[in-house]
């Protein structure tokens, strides 16, 4: 798909994620696209980025791709190896994490994320991963970036279970719960969204080249705010694509190549 454009959708999303990271920031990441986005940012415009894995790893420089945070491949050449209390406690809960990446089974229009279960928690349901550090990041990072596949069964009017709160029920409700921060971006394989400052409802920010507004909306179970003019998402540069393919994910494990 989109081979003629010289990049894949995964690469486009990773580059969009990287673009959200400013130099000098501290970012909490999970495995997969967030790792690719963070390493890409660090190798390009944000060399002073600090990359954290919740289990106690800071600024690794892996040369092999791993199957998850538990894979020592992704710890290689870290500057610090410590613990949950150190990373999630004295960095994240302390308020030092600028950005956290979050993924999920479902997200609603206020950016509430579900990674726990599908179905009715009081009836038949299927249980998945749960929170891990996701709820902690959603609660204490200064802002979060949500990465999710663009499908109607994932972009939901209401999620089955709020694992990681976004803006909860919109305007004022996150503050009422005692939480600052909140999601700043949602990056899907069709578009990028932010949240309208007043209502905290998801708002279309850009559409990926090769997609139409109709396709974007057709695969959502709620209506996002759609401004009059919606630009196309800035595509990856050839150098960004090369870095992902040759250096960051040469085995194609994260991108599923």
């Amino acid at each position: 798909m989109q081979a003629e454009q010289g990049y894949t959708l995964f690469e486009l999303m990773a580059v969009a994620g990287a673009r959200e990271l400013k130099d000098g920031e501290v970012v909490g990441v999970g495995i997969g696209l967030p790792v690719v986005a963070s390493f890409l940012a660090k190798r390009t415009h944000a060399p002073k980025l600090t990359i954290l894995f919740e289990l106690g790893v800071v600024d690794p420089e892996p040369i092999h791709t791993g199957v998850g945070l538990a894979d020592p491949r992704v710890w290689y050449r870290a500057k610090i190896m410590s613990s949950f209390v150190d990373i999630l406690g004295t960095v994240l809960h302390r308020g030092v994490v600028d950005v956290g990446f979050l993924g999920g089974l479902e997200v609603d229009m206020y950016g509430n994320l579900n990674t726990t279960l599908l179905g009715d928690p009081n009836g038949a349901f299927r249980h998945f991963v749960g929170s891990g550090g996701a709820n902690d990041i959603a609660s204490s990072a200064k802002r979060t970036i949500i990465i999710i596949r663009h499908e109607a069964r994932k972009l939901k009017q209401a999620v089955s279970f709020i694992t990681s709160p976004g803006y909860i029920q919109g305007a004022g409700s996150r503050e009422a719960a005692g939480l600052a921060g909140g999601p700043s971006r949602v990056i899907t394989d069709k578009a990028i969204f932010d949240f309208e400052p007043e209502s905290k409802r998801m708002r279309l920010l850009s559409i990926h080249l090769g997609t139409t507004l109709e396709e974007v909306l057709a695969e959502m179970s709620f209506e996002p705010i759609v401004p009059d003019r919606v630009p196309f998402t800035e595509p990856p540069t050839p150098e960004q694509v090369r870095l992902i393919r040759e250096e960051i994910d040469p085995e194609g494990i994260y991108s599923g190549r």
Binding site: G68, A70, D71, M81, S83, G89, G132, G133, S139, I162
Partner: protein
Amino acid sequence: MSSKLATLAEAVASIPDGAHVALSGFAITRCNMAFARELIRQGKRDLTVSQCVGAMDADLLAGAGVISRIIYGGGSLDRFGRLNCVNRGIEEGTLVAEEYSSLSVAFRYLAGALGIPFIPIRSLRGSDILERLRKTAPGDIAFVDDPFSGEKWLVLKPLHPDVAVVQVQVADEEGNAWIFGPRWDNEEQVRASTRTIVITERLVSTEMIRRNPEWTRIPGFRVFHVVHLPFSAHPTSVYQAYDYDADCIKEYAQMTQTREGVQAYLDKYVYGVKDHWEYLERVGGLERLSKLTADPVLGY
């Protein structure tokens, strides 16, 4: 002088049915796999297990019906799949799950370790995790007014497991242990627990421990049993010692998709072997294990 060396069978026998056991695994690394297999063989029942991130050790115990309750922050086998047995237990109502986030469980261990009666946390607010905990663990969460700001804060009750079981790279016979790589919740688990069982890949002299006292992550005076058992985390990885065994974990993830598969897995790898050494033969013996041995620079 104060040797606590024990066999795996002896260490496992010291754990009574119904005990709360904190496990050191994280997804597919440093999991207490040999320990879990021996718990199953000894027919232990009704255990509670806790860990910040649910791992393969807890899942195997759930599959074998050894545990009736899990206190955790969610978990998986990383890219190999879900925690099939834990999830099935939750879905079918046979396993009580008190589900938190990684930091909430870490803070509960930390409070237990410090001997403080409660610890405030920002996490969980506004989430269904908190709503569900009001039903599953109402005695472990509460709200308190911060006396300094007047703000209302969620506070968590400390965890005090009966036993922490920690898989380490290096220990002496007193239980002083080194953990290489990230340590996730292990240091707090040990300090929160009443007693600790250390399962070590390598046994060293106390003289060696004294040469690098800054590396000692587990204090020997909190340890009751030291089990020296190479490859005891197989098929999960031990940083600086051996890689995870991808084929074995794939087989596990595949077989545990059904209850029948779980039984077949247990028959093959737990009940079908008399001890850890026979298990290692079953998975391919020295030839197989040599291939997993970690490169000293890479650590995997």
